[in-house]
C-alpha cells in the first residue's frame, strides 16, 4: 500500500470512457414457451447515460439486461457495445468488461471487502499493488475508510454498506458499462433514498453507461437519463427522458404505469431556479413566505397549497428575493411542454457538478 501511495494516484480514481449500448431488434424466446420474453427490442443508450428499464414483473426487463452480458443468450437480433456485437465476444471476457450489480448484491461472504473488490482485477491479472491501490481509491470514492473496512467480511457490514461495496466491486476494473438489477431493492426506504442520491453523485463523477432495472417508476424517474417502459410480452411501450415520459405518455398503459400523479412527478423534476419567475411587485403585500430557488417546483406547489394559495417569494442562496411563484405560474410551466418542467433534471440532481464535465461523458480522465 505504501508503494501505491505515490504521485500516480493522487486525487480521485480515473475512469475510462463509457460506451454506447444498442439493442437491435432483439428477441428472446424461451424453449417451451409460446410467448416471447422480449419482443423486438430496439433502443440506443448514449455513452454515459443511465437507461432505466422499468415495467411490471414479467415484462422482460431483467431478461433484457442479462442479454447484454450474455448471462442469457438472445434468440434473434443483436446487441452492440461500443459499436461491437456482444455475440462475437467470449462470454467470460465480455462479462469482465461489464460491471454487474444485482439486488442481493452477491458479495462473496468468504472474502474480505478488499478481496471482493479485487475480484475482476484478479481475473484480469492485475498485479497486487495496482489492485490494492484501486481498492483503496474506490472505497474512498464511496465514502468508506479503507483502513477500517478493507479487512472486514460482508457479514460484518450493514445492508447499505454491502450495497455500496457491491457498486465499488462492479466499478473495480473500470468497465465502460454497468448493469444494475434493482440494486436498491433490498434496502429500507430511508437508506434507499440516501443510496440513490449517493449513487447519482457517484455517477456524475464516473459517467458510466448504465442499464438500471427497477419496477419502481419513482426510482426510474429519479435515476434515469432515459427510461424504457416495458410491458407484458417484453414489448417496449415507450423510450424517453423522464420529463417526456411524464409529459407525453405514449399510450394508456404508460400513462397508468407512470401514475395519475404524473404532473406532480414532472414538477419534482425541476427546481424554481429553472422556471421563469414572476417579477416581484415592490408595492405588493410583504411578509410572504419565502422559499429557496433550489426547491423543487413540486415542493413549492405543496407549500402554496398549504398556505391557502398565496404566492411565495423565491430567494437565492444569499436569501435575496429573486421573484415570486404562484399557482398560475406552476400551471403554465406544466402546460408548456418546452418549458422548464420539460427539461432534464440534471441541474437539479447535481448542483455541484461542473457543467462542462457533466455534459461531456467523453471527457478525458483527470
Amino acid at each position: 500500500m505504501d508503494i501505491a501511495d505515490t504521485a500516480q494516484h493522487e486525487g480521485p480514481p480515473s475512469f475510462a470512457q463509457a460506451a454506447t449500448l444498442e439493442f437491435r431488434g432483439v428477441w428472446k424466446r424461451y424453449p417451451g414457451s409460446r410467448d416471447a420474453a422480449l419482443a423486438n427490442l430496439s433502443l440506443e443508450v448514449p455513452a454515459g447515460d443511465v437507461c432505466v428499464l422499468v415495467g411490471p414483473s414479467g415484462c422482460g426487463k431483467t431478461t433484457a439486461m442479462r442479454l447484454v452480458n450474455r448471462m442469457i443468450d438472445l434468440s434473434e437480433g443483436d446487441i452492440l457495445l461500443g459499436g461491437e456485437s456482444v455475440l462475437g465476444r467470449e462470454p467470460d471476457e465480455l462479462r469482465r468488461e461489464i460491471g454487474y450489480v444485482i439486488q442481493q448484491i452477491g458479495l462473496f461472504p468468504h472474502l474480505t471487502v478488499a478481496e471482493n473488490i479485487a475480484t475482476v482485477p484478479r481475473l484480469l491479472g492485475w498485479d497486487r499493488t495496482r489492485i490494492a491501490a484501486r481498492s483503496n481509491d474506490l472505497l474512498e470514492l464511496i465514502g468508506m475508510d479503507p483502513d477500517e473496512v478493507s479487512g472486514r467480511y460482508p457479514g460484518q457490514l450493514s445492508g447499505g454498506q454491502r450495497q455500496r461495496i457491491g457498486v465499488a466491486r462492479a466499478l473495480a476494473a473500470d468497465p465502460p458499462l454497468m448493469l444494475m438489477d434493482e440494486p436498491f431493492g433490498a434496502i429500507d426506504p430511508i437508506n434507499r433514498e440516501r443510496l440513490q442520491d449517493e449513487f447519482l453523485r457517484l455517477q456524475a463523477q464516473v459517467r458510466k453507461t448504465i442499464v438500471f432495472v427497477t419496477h419502481d417508476i419513482d426510482e426510474a424517474i429519479k435515476m434515469g437519463d432515459r427510461i424504457a417502459v416495458l410491458r407484458d410480452g417484453g414489448r417496449l411501450a415507450q423510450y424517453a427522458t423522464p420529463a417526456e415520459l411524464l409529459a407525453r405518455p405514449a399510450d394508456d398503459f404508460v400513462a397508468r404505469f407512470v401514475g395519475a400523479d404524473r404532473a406532480l412527478k414532472r414538477l419534482a423534476l425541476s427546481t424554481l431556479a429553472e422556471i421563469d419567475l414572476i417579477a416581484l411587485d415592490p408595492a405588493g403585500p410583504g411578509g410572504r413566505e419565502q422559499i429557496g430557488r433550489r426547491t423543487s417546483v413540486r415542493d413549492a406547489l405543496s407549500m402554496i397549497l398549504g398556505g391557502g394559495g398565496r404566492p411565495l417569494t423565491v430567494v437565492d442562496e444569499q436569501d435575496r428575493a429573486v421573484g415570486q411563484v404562484t399557482l398560475e405560474l406552476i400551471g403554465r410551466a406544466l402546460a408548456d411542454p418546452s418549458g422548464a418542467a420539460g427539461q432534464p433534471a440534471d441541474v437539479d440532481e447535481l448542483p455541484d457538478a461542473q457543467p462542462a464535465a457533466a455534459a461531456d461523458p467523453g471527457r478525458p480522465a483527470a
Binding site: D92, R96, I102, G106, T112, Y153
Partner: protein, 235 residues
C-alpha cells in the same frame, strides 16, 4: 483358578498377578506393552483411517462434482453409496476376502465405501447451499465455471464439507477396529487378541480407550482446521 489355565501367554512378557487374575486394568501391562503392541496398533489405525478418508474424500468429491453438474446423477450415486452404507461392516469385510484376501486393501475398500455416503451427501449439500445470488455474481463478473467452483462455490461449501469429513473420520476410526478381522492391523488387532484370550480386560480397555481418544483428537484437529480455513464463518 480356571482362568490361569486357559490364558497361556497374556501379552507376552509382563505376566504379573494383575494380569493373571485379569483384573479390570493393569498399568504394568500397559507400560510394558505400549511399545510392542499398542503404539504400533495406534499408528496402523491412524494409517488405516487417513487412507480411507483421503481416498473416500477424493472419490466422493469426484462423484459429488459430477452430480452437481448433472442433477440426474444424484439418485444413482446416492442409492449405490446408500446401499454400501447399510451393509453390516463385518459382512462386508468378510465378503471381500475371496477377491482381495486378508489384506489391508480389503480393509480399505470396505472403509472407503462407508465414507462415501456421508462425504458425497455433505459435499453435494454444501455446493448446493451456495446462495444463488453469489453464484450469479461470480458468473456475471466473468469467472469461468472452474474459477467459480474453485474460488467461490467450494470455499463456501467448506463448512458443510468439513462437517462431513468429521463424521466420516470418526466413523472410520470406529469401523477400522473391525477391520482387524481381515488384516490384523490397527487397534482392532489387540482388541481381537484380548477377546480371543478369554477377554483380557486390560488390553481390551486400553485399545478401546485409545480408539475413542483417537476419534476425539481427530475430531478436535478437524474443527481446528475448519476454523483456520473459514475465518469468515465467525464474522
Amino acid at each position: 483358578m480356571l482362568a490361569a489355565v486357559v490364558i497361556p501367554n497374556f501379552g507376552g512378557g509382563g505376566a504379573t498377578s494383575c494380569v493373571q487374575e485379569n483384573r479390570v486394568f493393569c498399568f504394568g501391562w500397559l507400560r510394558s506393552n505400549w511399545r510392542g503392541v499398542l503404539e504400533p496398533a495406534l499408528v496402523q489405525h491412524v494409517v488405516l483411517t487417513v487412507i480411507a478418508v483421503v481416498v473416500g474424500f477424493g472419490l466422493a468429491m469426484a462423484l459429488a462434482l459430477a452430480a452437481y453438474r448433472h442433477d440426474w446423477l444424484e439418485r444413482p450415486i446416492g442409492t449405490v453409496s446408500g446401499v454400501l452404507y447399510t451393509i453390516p461392516s463385518l459382512a462386508l469385510f468378510e465378503f471381500l476376502v475371496p477377491s482381495l484376501g486378508l489384506t489391508r486393501t480389503n480393509a480399505e475398500v470396505a472403509l472407503v465405501s462407508y465414507t462415501l455416503l456421508i462425504l458425497f451427501r455433505n459435499i453435494l449439500t454444501g455446493l448446493r447451499g451456495v446462495p444463488a445470488d453469489v453464484r450469479d455474481t461470480a458468473r456475471g463478473m466473468g469467472m469461468s465455471a472452474r474459477q467459480s467452483l474453485l474460488r467461490v462455490e467450494l470455499p463456501l461449501a467448506l463448512p458443510t464439507i468439513m462437517a462431513g469429513v468429521r463424521i466420516a473420520t470418526v466413523t472410520t476410526i470406529s469401523l477400522a477396529t473391525v477391520a482387524a478381522y481381515v488384516c490384523d492391523q490397527g487397534l482392532g488387532a489387540p482388541i481381537f487378541t484380548a477377546i480371543n484370550e478369554n477377554v483380557f480386560k486390560t488390553e481390551l480397555i486400553a485399545a478401546g480407550v485409545l480408539a475413542i481418544a483417537l476419534a476425539l483428537v481427530a475430531d478436535g484437529l478437524l474443527v481446528l482446521v475448519q476454523r483456520l480455513l473459514t475465518p469468515w464463518a465467525r464474522a
